[in-house]
Symmetry: C3
């Protein structure tokens, strides 16, 4: 669409993503999320893509912009979605149309075709579009209210199960046929709360501007909390079809590769290792003897050591494991676990794992969730990581420590054992064990 | 034998079996002990089998009785063996003969043929029979005293090694040719202690009633203490001959099945798993990657997870393991161990494992003994279970806990670590590890 | 050489070798160090080999002497190298020549040929020889000072990096063409410190006796500290060429043997085990299911149990492992680790491992170093052994203990956990896990 401008909201502070950082640099299937998102957005063939950035990611976007002239990075000026949108709208022609999206939302390619057609039609009819994600089960988001003709008449935030006004959860994927009208509505919206954007859209509806429902039934993933990385991982793992193994990958005869798998150049798979797809293995990894990797992404330079299992986990890169179990976990770069360190990923009572985020316990909705560990962390032998724990970047955890909550960045945690030493007067000779040896056959 | 009545003693409270329960429901080779015992007893072709039950198992027996009209369940009235026998004798004709057995004793089929013949002969001669288990080594039980003609003249309880009056330990497998005489002896036996039954038999001997020795040289197992389950397991494992693997069992190419093995329908064996017989695997089990099961029974619905070893252990059903070692242990239903939980099964000093039973330390006679765990127990990651420990049903054990004794039912045990957290000023870069990577080949 | 006498210094007390003992009895490739050294020395075709012994090893040497008449064992009389040399010199003819060597130094065979030729030439020219090990990088030893003609003019102890007077570190491999002159120099050397030997050599130089450099560029290993066993192990592992597997070794089909390997008679290799050379496996060992042994020596009678990794380690004999990781470690005889015991072999900060030796922290120069454990030690399940720790002979370590320093001989170390037990009111049914089971495929 010749006059379509996309505004991508990327100015949030991502504090809820701690202890993980800089999520747009996270690689999936060998590409960073940044690359992946712009490749996706380019398919909408817009005039321009405005990225509303913050101080932390502004430079990243600018670097990317150099090779992608369709992109224009603007620094977020005001607060909230309204502030973000306004920062970009300043540079958009009055007569152009606008699509507002979140940098952190991931949709299927099926969105592209449907949305393109609907936007063209809406433009002709001078209507807006609001995107509704069809949800069979209740989801704690904003639900679209529809009139009999299927037009959107409002949004109800978290109505509670059974009170949903429709089956559609509102996504941030909003089409405005006129930049001018959209800008004016934002300027005129008055509110005490941080909902200027929503009030503006509400006011437009009151002024009889029509917002049609754009129904989306594909997969949607977002990445606010650290465990959301696992949802996005699933999203990309499901795109692997068949086995794509680089020609220089060295594989032992007794190694087994099953299911849909990508293994990048320079990686080695040792005896008895099993890779049970969907799995992505990055460059220069070692999957050592008797290791098992299933339903996971293992980034560049990782060593999955002897007798280690990695299940449903995302390891960004340069992670060293050895005789570990890592389940339902997210590790950033340069993390090393000593022998026998394990992640608990299921509470004893088997209820959903809760994670403290900014002093609040958040129900992750996940029955199984392991550890979320920032970059440059070392964990000593035999340490135990409880379900849903977070370890900040640059921390060292001593041997035998049980981590039950959150470890702040650059912490050194050790356990002080009360040892009792006495004289041992009993001696045990090696012959005592001959009978046990006979049991072994 | 047309007029033979079997009285099966099943009215004991089984308190010494704690933390395990309801042993008669324990399956071996796919059948409950209840079924197994009655199948065995039916081979004696008696007129009737009277089971003397208690409040806990009365209903189980009655259910079983419905499909097995030869069985008659009676509630135990008085105390001890005498009370039990009297409860059944009320319903037995004066002219009938009686065989008294324990529900908890397991004999070879070799007992059937020999005993049948001997009982017929004894009936004709109007004699009783007492069963003596031939023991080469001293056993802490009651020993039969024999006269020169091989008639039993008495019983000596625990004579101590070297003082045995014969090589025969008395089993509860007593034949009385006349129900009337037996009943009368019980009624007339006077004693202060809980030995009315033994006094009655002694009195009969004094009255010149003859009790011949019935010599038994086969295998005998009983099931009083929880670790006795392992002896009974061995007893039944030795009956497996060859490999009986259900046709729908899915097995990875690299899995290995050795020795005498039964694998029931619906089970799956993953890559690198080894099943080293004698082993029984129940229905719908998963023996996961690189797991090792040897000399064990794994009941229905168990998951023997990645890199787990199960050795010489009985898992009743629905047990979940993952990176564990379970050795010489008995687990009931729905027990789950977190990653890296291990059972210790050998003391550091390698002497026999002692177990506290009702405030008394009992020498199990076993050099190797692991954990005995009731139903519905959850154990957190990295917990350590010392040799011979007991965990009551419904308990949760936290991560990293060392269990050294007995955990009561429905307990929640956690360890409180003294952690010391300081600032970590050292940073370790991933490049430091390139040299280690080169060592891996 | 007809008149050459070798003096082998073996009278040191080896206290720095603790917790290990009696290093000369350590077997490498099936022979004790004692045997190995004398086989080596015999190649020098001397008239006699005098071993200067101490109270602890005198008898061992005498036993060995019986079958090796070229050897003569003398008890060390005075202190230091001078005292040791004097003890032997008493029995050496005045006109004979003398080579002084350390029992604990290991050289390549390349030393033999070169040294023999040089000694013959030196004898003719009436000169001595001092041996210099060519070192590219700085080494904290004594450096030879050379004049323009390549004669040795002195020795500088630990000059510090950049201040080396030459590239040659002085070895104890000193040739004296005249026993008489050598003896006289020792007698006349006056010093307050323990350096009478060095002063004597220095005085000879002052008296214009010539000492030529004998340059040695081969491998040298010594064995003062316990971790030096690993260097000597490497030295001997590098001598294995190809695979020498005794004909009676039983090996599972799925076991893998790679690289240069010796496996002695009576050993068994189970399913999924990998032996990744260079590796030496002694007699009657069991390498159990899924075990991995690499770059190690496993002495007679060891059991490397299920899912255990042994890497770059020396196990003297009768060591029992089970689900362990043993890396960069030295274990003496009859050591047993419970399930899940692991050795840490890398500090969290990845700097060199320090070891306390006689109250002083010694920098081992090793980035990776595990545990050094004396004979007859038992370690309970789940114990954690930190990098560079030492456990004295005859000690027991309880389950879950973290060993961070040195455990004295015959100690019994246990950890006292603070447990909190409460009532558990939550029950978890087995059905909850059906969904997890579906994930397994």
């Amino acid at each position: 669409m010749d006059n379509l401008n996309i505004i991508v909201l990327a100015g949030g502070q991502s504090t809820r993503f701690a202890p993980l950082k800089n999520k747009l640099s996270y690689p999936f299937l060998g590409k960073s999320l940044l690359e992946i998102q712009f490749q996706f957005l380019k398919k909408l063939r817009s005039k321009k893509i405005f990225v509303v950035a913050n101080e932390l990611n502004f430079d990243d976007f600018c670097r990317f912009q150099r090779e992608n002239p369709i992109i224009s990075t603007v620094m977020q000026a005001g607060t909230g979605m309204a502030g973000a949108a306004m920062s970009a709208l300043k540079e958009i022609d009055d007569l152009d149309s606008v699509l507002v999206l979140n940098m952190d939302d991931f949709f299927d390619d099926s969105l592209i075709l449907g949305l393109s057609k609907r936007m063209e039609a809406a433009l002709k009819k001078k209507q807006g579009l609001l995107t509704g994600l069809w949800k069979e089960k209740y989801f704690p988001g904003g639900y679209l209210v529809l009139d009999k003709k299927g037009k959107v008449t409002g949004v109800v935030e978290r109505p509670g199960e059974g009170n949903e006004p429709s089956k559609y959860v509102k996504m941030v994927c909003d089409f405005f046929y006129s930049a001018k009208i959209f800008r004016q509505a934002l300027v005129e919206a008055k509110t005490e709360k941080d909902d200027q954007y929503e009030v503006a859209v509400g006011n437009l509806m009151k002024k009889k501007e029509i917002f049609d429902l754009f129904e989306y039934r594909g997969r949607w993933e977002t990445i606010k909390f650290p465990w959301h990385v696992l949802g996005v991982m699933d999203f990309f793992l499901s795109k692997i079809k068949g086995q794509q193994i680089a020609s220089d990958v060295v594989m032992a005869k007794s190694a087994v590769i099953k299911g849909d798998v990508v293994i990048e150049s320079g990686s080695k798979i040792f005896e008895g290792a099993v890779i049970n797809g969907p799995v992505y293995i990055g460059k220069n990894c070692i999957i050592a003897n008797n290791a098992l990797v299933r339903h996971s992404m293992v980034g560049d330079g990782c060593v999955i050591g002897f007798a280690t299992e990695v299940a449903r986990s995302y390891l960004l890169g340069n992670v060293w494991l050895h005789k570990n179990y890592v389940g339902d976990s997210v590790f950033e770069n340069n993390v090393s676990l000593g022998s026998n360190v394990v992640t608990g990923n299921l509470r004893l009572d088997e209820t959903n794992v809760l994670v403290k985020v900014k002093e609040q316990n958040v129900d992750t909705g996940l029955n199984k969730l392991g550890a979320m560990i920032g970059s440059d962390v070392r964990v000593g032998i035999g340490a135990m990581l409880m379900p849903g724990i977070k370890v900040g970047a640059g921390s060292f955890i001593g041997p035998g420590v049980i981590i039950g909550g959150e470890v702040e960045e650059n912490s050194y945690v050790v356990v002080k054992q009360e040892l009792k030493t006495s004289e041992n007067r009993i001696s045990v000779k090696e012959v005592s064990r001959e009978k046990f040896k006979k049991q072994l056959k």
